[in-house]
Symmetry: C2
Subunit: 389 residues, 2 copies
């Protein structure tokens, strides 16, 4: 039998797709986990429901205009209520918190993650943009403050699981699998006219809107290459992407003797979330098991670089280093929002990302403040390109 002490978890982004699934994991294992703190961006009604169901000690709404409404709605509960980005950052460094799950969307996850790292926390990282934007800075801070990051992304969790018990110097190659998204078999011409609602239909995973669009454009896979570089210290030339449309093999590691380990299972984010909470142990779950009779075939193909230029831009940004991945991320956040509002077409997203990377000021060794400035500048530039489109 295993003795897991009960862990206090701060769920940053509790009303999003990862956040709600994390609360399911916590709710299914009340002896092992408690939802100590919940933070949300704007979805105050769901946050109120979560307060009743999971009885957190602390709750924060980022949107300060909703503070009063939230405060009154949970007045009968013993929960402390706060509002604003600074309060979220403070939650991330609270002493009683054992694990900080960073499940916020996009760039907004950077600041609270830095606070959690500086407080030496164990971070279950679901916000890949944090490492995309500022991987080097985060890694330096983790080392300095003895914080540890356990990835929640299914691909990186797979690699993390495959690396368990293996020597750090034995890795030859990381093999990230990609579903190829909903447009894998479309021609470039067809891609020109796809709509947001088509892009939001992912074949295998139920996810939030931003990451679903990123999956359709393969920017998500590009970000994952960058994330993998910082999480595992592997040179981009040794990170390969293989398209595997069934999304059963979540990723692989090839070792220096030629042996490959893969982690697989049905696509279900609850598994990597729970693993990040229980690592290095594993807890019994009732998640549906993979039945090979229902998945009699796994296929593999190479990603098409002509159709999905974003993947190449990610390798380019990693190679340029400095603030280039931050520019890539900011431009992408802006173009995804514009695409979702039907302001630009699917292929124009990549066009504008490329133009923004060309035009935005390059900084070789950015500080945190440089990242903040770069993010703002890249957003402004990308916005201007959208205006003139």
């Amino acid at each position: 039998m295993t003795t897991l002490t009960k862990k206090n978890i701060a769920v940053l982004g509790s009303t999003g797709s990862i956040g709600t699934q994390a609360l399911e994991v916590i709710g299914a294992n009340p002896d092992h986990f408690s939802a100590y703190a919940l933070t949300a961006g704007f979805n105050v009604d769901l946050l109120i429901q979560q307060c009743r169901r999971f009885e957190p000690e602390v709750v924060v709404i980022a949107d300060e205009s909703k503070y009063q409404y939230l405060k009154e709605a949970v007045a009968d509960l013993p929960v402390k209520v706060f509002a604003g980005a600074d309060a979220i950052a403070q939650v991330a460094e609270m002493e009683v918190v054992d694990i900080v799950l960073t499940a916020m969307v996009g760039y907004s996850g950077l600041k609270p993650t830095i606070h959690a790292v500086k407080a030496g926390k164990t971070i279950a990282l679901a916000n890949k943009e944090t490492l995309v934007v500022a991987g080097e800075l985060i890694n330096d801070l983790c080392e300095k403050h003895k914080a540890s990051i356990i990835p929640v992304d299914s691909e990186h969790s797979a690699i993390f699981q495959c690396l368990t018990g293996e020597g750090a110097d034995t890795v030859e190659q990381l093999i990230l699998t990609a579903s190829g998204g909903p447009f894998r078999t479309m021609s470039r011409e067809e891609l020109e006219y796809v709509t947001p609602s088509q892009a939001l239909k992912h074949p295998n995973w139920e996810m939030g809107a931003k990451i679903t669009i990123d999956s359709a454009s393969m920017m998500n896979k590009g970000f994952e290459v960058i994330e993998a570089k910082w999480l595992f210290g592997v040179d981009p030339s040794r990170i390969q992407v293989v398209v595997h449309p069934q999304s059963i093999i979540h990723s692989m590691v090839q070792f220096r003797d030629g042996s490959i380990k893969a982690q697989l299972g049905l696509p279900d984010m609850k598994l990597p979330i729970q693993y990040a909470f229980t690592y290095p142990d594993r807890l019994v779950s009732n998640f549906p098991r993979l039945n090979f009779a229902l998945y009699p075939q796994f296929t593999f193909e190479q990603p098409d670089p002509e159709k999905f230029r974003n993947l190449a831009y990610a390798y380019y940004a990693l190679d340029k280093a400095g603030n280039m991945p931050c520019i890539l991320n900011a431009a992408n956040e802006v173009v995804v929002a514009a695409f979702l509002k039907n302001r630009i077409g699917f292929l124009q997203m990549s066009d504008i990302i490329e133009l923004t990377m060309d035009k935005c000021s390059f900084i070789n060794h950015p500080t945190y403040d440089d990242y903040v400035r770069t993010d703002a500048e890249a957003r402004r530039i990308a916005g201007e390109f959208i205006q003139t489109t």
Copy 2:
């Protein structure tokens, strides 16, 4: 950088398929391994070549009639020459030997393995019959003498690799993959008339004759289920066999949270041999790497219990326990030899195994001497059934 001390390896069965591949691994890594002792059954000419190439300290030929020939042929070398089964057992317990690779064929591997276990050696186990026949005895002795077994069979090496760094109590299920052999798609009627030369053509693996026939009849997979039970302490009800004709995924472990880890690569026994020598480290190899572009499809299917009854017999023998797996193994060795000599047909192998299991004396808690007697009795009974066929 890794610092591996040079390991002295005793290769029992050096002229067989595993033995010669083990010597390739040793020859490719002279700074890490030395072929301290070589033993062979009867192939004295190859053994003489190996003496010149690998310069062992000790060499043994099991067939005592070939001792003089061997002794004279290597008279100019500083190698000590011995003959007979007892000498092989003594090699297995020599103090300077770090790893004993047991790569003898069938039941003959049992005795030297027991000697190696009693000497507290690390055993790279390629002779699965040892655990099939006497798994409980071997496990008890390993515990008593602090010997450790590292499996060389590709399936069990895969499972062993997947278990690295994982808690022993976290395993939910072992998933052994099976190629299905050369007769996977044949009907039962067609199986009636297959010839030894057809059975010796394995689709994926180059192996010795005995194991290749066992693969064609799925007895090999049955033995692997028994072997897995003893190696990993997992109940047979939690050992599943899945047919995977491409033989790229070598086997898998499903953990209690639902996560599955698989080990994969091109079919090449040198990899698990080397891993057994280097565990827990991994050494750089020049073995060909898996290229997903060349293996764009993995498929899975269920084994057909009507066509391949041996698999069911193995589960039955495990369930009966005692000396039943020993009976199964002895009967199988006899029928495989008879099939190779065209004395009986392919399907008759299973018929005679079943009859022998019914007729041979059952012993609930066999000693080593009981195993020796059971082996002899089962061989006699199976031989008689062959006579009357």
